[in-house]
């Protein structure tokens, strides 16, 4: 029934968001948002503070509940069914602005325990996979330390490794570098660029315009809960069409 309803696209979307509306109490936080992400596509979302960027990507894995509209992730519709929510969270990894590592667990346990708890992976396998991914983000030597003993950049790379341990098909990043000191931003962005080059589907909320130019297939500009403009990075940065986009870009470039 679900597939019958879907418009017959040539290529199925990894994420299809249609006419999404969300309210926090009476505050209308997302207004008729429509966004479709193809498999392997990299989307960068930017916009002023409070424009609903976090709210939008948090709706995708149901950290926030939307009230109207539709979200379909890899063919699964996000609704009240716990089964669907679980299925979607299995496919979608998330990296937060403040890392949200588990401070009472070592770096390796941070990577292994979620696999054990959500998939029932045997501990040994989970730890092996954790080590593999820590190597991929180039901090295997920190495996036995606690998150509080690492620098911000290292913590964020652990958070990326932890999310990747679950073998997600889609990764959401919510301002992954904005809590970091400038000298640590690059190491995290490098990790994300490497991930993009491997073909991961990504939605990244960021104001790192260098990253957007280099990696994004599309840049989406949001303001006051709505998508104002969406285009390829070169067009977006060099020839923005909307007034609000122009004024926003002039603010962050200078």
């Amino acid at each position: 029934m679900m597939s019958a309803e879907k418009p017959s696209n040539r290529e199925p979307s990894a994420i299809a968001i249609r006419n999404l509306d969300k309210w926090y109490g009476t505050y209308h936080a997302l207004r008729n948002v429509t966004l479709s992400v193809k498999p392997g596509e990299r989307i960068v979302i930017c916009g002023p503070s409070g424009s609903g960027k976090s709210t939008l990507i948090r709706c995708v894995n149901h950290l926030e509940e939307h009230q109207q509209g539709e979200i379909v992730v890899n063919g699964v519709t996000l609704n009240d069914s716990l089964k669907n929510i679980d299925a979607i969270r299995r496919d979608v990894g998330m990296v937060f602005q403040h890392f949200n590592l588990f401070p009472h667990l070592t770096v390796l346990e941070n990577c292994a325990l979620p696999q054990i708890l959500s998939r029932g992976t045997p501990r040994k396998l989970a730890e092996e996979r954790g080590m593999q991914l820590l190597e991929r983000v180039r901090i295997p030597e920190q495996a036995l330390k606690y998150p509080g003993q690492l620098s911000g950049g290292q913590q964020q790379r652990v958070a990326i490794a932890r999310a990747l341990c679950m073998s997600p098909k889609i990764m959401l990043f919510d301002e992954p570098t904005s809590a970091l000191d400038p000298e640590m931003v690059k190491e995290v962005l490098d990790t994300m660029v490497a991930l993009a080059e491997e073909g991961m589907t990504m939605i990244v909320v960021t104001h790192e315009m260098g990253f957007a130019r280099r990696v994004a297939d599309r840049v989406v500009f949001m303001d006051r809960g709505a998508i104002v403009e969406s285009s390829a990075p070169d067009a977006f940065f060099d020839a923005p069409t909307h007034e609000r986009t122009k004024s926003f870009l002039s603010q962050i470039v200078h």
Binding site: L63, D86, R90, P103, P114, G148
Partner: protein, 368 residues
């Protein structure tokens, strides 16, 4: 090779010779004791206290009778520590049959052993809980007897230190899981668990423990059908357990409130089922955050067990009191209470030090 490269890279450092550290500044002792108004006041206060305590020290040490088999040999002006020696068995074990005394002793040995094994958090887990269940069953079995040739000893004959230790340990141990659920219930978004938890916690916290003990030991048997006979020790244990649970629940709730919402969100995003996230992510952190107030509650509960005396349970304090009532000895209440107090003090200090060590261990994980 290493030294070569260092001397190349840091020529300037090589040219500065190492100097001896400057001498540690010594504060003259007079200045330390009377340097400012505060120190002077404290010094004077300490001196007055020591002087005021002189008669007590004279009573306790100089004029004391340390060992004698003859009660009459205790001098009037001094402490009669010989009494403690003579009544030690009774204070520690109460009315427990003397020929079976090895059983409470072994029970306490087992308890100490299990507590020592459980100190390190590295061993905490399901296996340890199972071990404790088996251990407690063995402890109670030893005390009760009635099997394998051990004569049956009813709880009315239990007494002294084993009763104090069992009540403290079991009320805290059984109260803790209840407390966890009460704390979770109180923070739940579902109305029924929340109202039940709030109702229970506030009711119990609103009652004095003495009242709760009276209800449990006197009122409950009148209210329950006469066929239901739970013995008095069991009823006081139940009262202490719900009391401990209510207080522990509020402490744990404080810990839960201190966990940032990002922790649960990360767990959700990783697909960790809600209850497993509570068990492995939220609760361990919440409890680590409230080690000092948990310690406080544990210490209060150890001392609260002495209140069971007023409903006629023969704990260590009651045993000490009845020992002192023996007319053969010259009313050595002070000695008995001091001795019992010393044991409580040792227990509570041990708990406090253990908690401090635990807290340091937790702190070592985040030095920033």
């Amino acid at each position: 090779m290493t030294s070569l490269s260092i001397s190349h890279g840091h020529v300037a450092a090589d040219m500065l010779p190492a100097r001896e550290a400057p001498p540690i500044k010594r504060v003259p002792i007079v200045k330390m004791l009377f340097g400012d108004v505060m120190s002077a006041a404290l010094t004077a206060g300490a001196l007055v206290t020591v002087l005021a305590l002189m008669p007590a020290l004279k009573w306790g040490f100089v004029d004391a009778t340390w060992a004698t088999a003859d009660p009459a040999a205790c001098r009037a002006g001094g402490a009669c520590w010989a009494f403690i020696g003579a009544k030690l068995r009774f204070i520690l074990f109460g009315l427990y049959p003397p020929e079976e005394q090895w059983r409470p002793m072994m029970m306490m040995g087992l308890m100490v052993l299990m507590v020592l094994v459980s100190l390190s958090p590295a061993l905490w887990g399901r296996k340890l809980v199972t071990a404790w269940l088996a251990g407690v069953a063995m402890m109670l079995g030893l005390m009760w007897g009635g099997f394998a040739g051990l004569p049956f000893v009813p709880t009315s004959q239990w007494g002294g230190l084993p009763v104090t230790l069992l009540l403290a340990l079991l009320s805290l141990g059984c109260g803790f899981p209840f407390a966890v659920f009460l704390a979770l219930g109180r923070r739940s978004s579902l109305p029924i668990p929340r109202f039940l938890s709030v109702g229970l916690i506030e009711t119990i916290r609103g009652l004095p423990l003495v009242g709760l003990l009276f209800v449990a030991s006197i009122l409950l048997p009148l209210l329950l059908p006469p066929t239901w006979t739970i013995d008095k020790l069991g009823r006081t244990f139940a009262a202490l357990t719900v009391f401990a649970a209510a207080y522990l629940a509020e402490v744990i709730r404080g810990g839960l409130q201190a966990i940032p919402s990002g922790q649960v969100e990360a767990a959700k995003a990783l697909g960790i089922p809600h209850w497993k996230a509570i068990q492995h992510i939220v609760m361990p952190q919440a409890i680590q955050k409230v080690i000092p107030p948990l310690t406080n509650t544990a210490i209060v509960m150890v001392k609260n067990t002495s209140l069971v005396m007023i409903v006629g349970v023969f704990d260590m304090l009651s045993a000490g009191r009845s020992a002192a009532m023996d007319p053969v000895w010259p009313a050595p209440y002070r000695e008995a209470y001091l001795f019992v107090g010393l044991i409580y003090f040792a227990l509570c200090v041990a708990i406090a030090y253990y908690a401090r060590w635990l807290e340091l261990r937790v702190k070592a994980k985040d030095y920033r």
